[in-house]
């Protein structure tokens, strides 16, 4: 059985914490528990929020007590290890050109790499989507190669444009909306990651993502098609894996 801790986050949320590090194995456990509990439709549970290493369960304590909820979780964690996790594989186009990559030369200097090497290393990896958070549809993807791991900017920028691809530590994010940001911006993705009218986040926790470098011209073409609503974005494949 997996080790976990139950931690109260006030009287209407409970945290199931599997660990305190970024680790695909912990992420898989979190996502499997989320899937299992969502499937149970426990009366009094309002929503579950998976993160890197824990699952927050929002509940109505006048319907289900914290103790009763803890018992349900206990029972579930004991039996959920065989459940399969399903994910999708995405190839997302990114323009790493200087028009968008405002921090690329700075990242190259700090990592003692050529700009082209930064692009090659960033686009060579297959990223795991750990969680969505901070902004609607914003996926935290890892792990960025240690060669490119940098601390956040000491002072965040007041604003970066929607679609900005940025890195910090071992994480990579495409920011779906214009936002203040302290990460290093190295490109821009023309694919909209969030549509409130559906509601739809393109990416889900558990998905795998690879970034495909495209020219500024191709970026513009895709961006135009996206704004006209005629760009269909499909995963390249799906996979089913076993929970660790």
């Amino acid at each position: 059985m997996l080790d976990y801790k139950l931690l109260p986050a006030g009287d209407t949320a409970l945290v199931v914490e599997f660990g305190d590090r970024v680790d695909p194995a912990l992420s898989t456990a979190v996502l499997a528990l989320a899937q299992a509990l969502d499937g149970e439709r426990i009366e009094g549970v309002i929503e579950t929020v998976p993160t890197f290493r824990s699952l927050m369960i929002h509940y109505e304590p006048l319907v289900i007590s914290s103790a009763a909820l803890a018992a349900r979780i206990e029972e579930r964690v004991r039996t959920f290890r065989a459940r399969p996790a399903v994910g999708r594989v995405w190839h997302l186009p990114v323009c790493y050109g200087e028009r968008f990559a405002i921090d690329l030369s700075d990242v190259a200097r700090r990592t003692s790499l050529a700009a082209q090497q930064v692009i090659e290393r960033h686009s060579a990896a297959v990223y795991h989507v750990y969680m969505l958070g901070f902004l609607p549809g914003q996926a935290y993807m890892g792990d960025v190669t240690p060669e490119l791991a940098l601390e956040r900017l000491p002072t965040p920028r007041a604003s970066i444009p929607a679609g900005s691809l940025a890195i910090a530590g071992r994480m990579s994010c495409v920011f779906p909306l214009e936002t203040p940001c302290g990460w290093h911006v190295i490109g821009r993705c023309p694919i909209p990651l969030w549509d409130a009218s559906l509601p739809a986040a393109l990416l889900a926790p558990g998905d795998k993502v690879t970034f495909v470098p495209v020219s500024a011209r191709e970026y513009d073409r895709l961006k135009t098609r996206a704004s006209e609503g005629v760009l269909r974005v499909e995963p390249v494949s799906e996979f089913a894996g076993a929970v660790a």
């Binding site: 931690l7 109260p8 006030g10 209407t12 949320a13 945290v15 993160t51 290493r53």
Partner: protein, 347 residues
């Protein structure tokens, strides 16, 4: 012409709010919604609305707006304000009414709210509500996510907010009596989820210290100034989910309480969480207020939540009809043919 409110001056930050959007935090969508659900409920009940109808939430300085409808019923609840009703844009002075009541206004009249005193938030409900399409089940304004409310942002001069009703219903105006909206000085918390990031004496400091609400507070979070809290071992945690009321302690050691518009995840240790029953009070605390934290058990928090729900239900019983002036009563009785014109009831 579509019935509407036309914003002449937006105030400091006025947004459309309701009880927020639930069920989408896993997509990174904040819950949002009103800062003070008690005053929100009072405003809707005074307007004759279901308790969850979208309203305007004004903070510190309220809006001015014109009535572009035959007539409309408004209700004001929350912190104190001198609400002025003027007969058109050229009028110098108008009738001033108190909050915690409803009022009927007619086409061309202008409502001026102005400074909000003894608190921070004032709710303005319109009978029937605003004709605004919900996004993910809510009309709450999500400024960070740029959705919901009026174009996903606070109101601006010139905005025209469509109303569901073209006229007010025929009924007397109402007054709400005896609703205590004073913010307590002591805020109750449940320790955790990351209280183990702090040594026992730091927890003690947190629970015994006095904190001042900072002017840097907003709908996302309440910044506090007071005894700084030292972390045991750094202030960066691997990001996890945030609940409304979470008290995170960043590197400078000054706690920050996350409010309605908080982001869904964050990377600072959270020493404690304000209990759900005390969240409405947080929405009433102006900058400069002094507060202190009292740890309670989950059982105590749940009991307090039950009391809050009972207090919300009791709002209906506190609503009384505004007594019309005696002349109006006499006229009304005459209308109803209940008294004869020759009989003077006062004689």
């Amino acid at each position: 012409m579509t019935p509407a409110l036309r914003i002449m001056a937006p105030g400091l930050s006025t947004t459309v709010q309701d009880l927020g959007r639930h069920g989408f935090q896993r997509l990174g969508v904040s819950v949002g919604g009103v800062l003070d659900p008690v005053a929100f409920r009072a405003a809707n009940k005074l307007a004759g609305n279901p308790g969850h109808t979208g309203v305007l939430e004004a903070v510190y300085y309220g809006p001015s707006f014109a009535i572009n409808a035959d007539d409309a019923r408004l209700a004001f609840a929350g912190a104190d304000a001198a609400v002025e009703i003027l007969d058109g844009a050229d009028a110098e002075r108008g009738e001033t009414i108190d909050v915690m009541r409803s009022v009927r206004v007619r086409r061309g009249q202008i409502v001026r709210v102005g400074p909000i005193r003894r608190g921070t938030t004032l709710y303005i409900a319109v009978e029937g509500g605003f004709a605004i399409e919900p996004v993910l089940g809510s009309v709450a304004t999500d400024s960070r996510g740029r959705m919901g409310g009026w174009h996903g942002r606070p109101l601006r001069e010139g905005d025209v907010l469509p109303l569901c009703r073209a006229t007010a219903s025929e009924r007397d105006e109402c007054l709400l009596e005896g609703l205590d909206l004073a913010a307590p000085r002591r805020i109750r918390v449940v320790l955790g989820p990351q209280n183990d990031w702090f040594a026992a004496e730091e927890i003690e400091r947190f629970c015994t210290g006095e904190y001042t609400v900072s002017a840097g507070s907003n709908r996302m979070g309440m910044r506090l100034d007071g005894p700084a809290l030292r972390h045991r071992d750094g202030f960066n945690i691997v990001s996890d989910a945030i609940a409304t009321g979470s008290i995170q302690v960043p590197g400078n050691g000054q706690p920050l309480i996350l409010l309605a518009d908080h982001q869904t995840t964050g990377g600072y240790p959270k020493i404690a969480t304000v209990i759900s029953a005390d969240l409405p009070a947080l929405g009433r605390l102006p900058a400069g207020s002094k507060i202190a934290f009292t740890p309670v058990t989950l059982e105590q928090a749940t009991a307090a939540r039950r009391e809050l729900f009972a207090a919300l239900d009791a709002i209906d019983d506190k609503i009384v009809r505004l007594t019309p002036p005696p002349a109006a009563i006499a006229a009304r009785l005459l209308e109803c043919n209940l008294i004869s014109g020759v009989c003077d009831a006062a004689a």
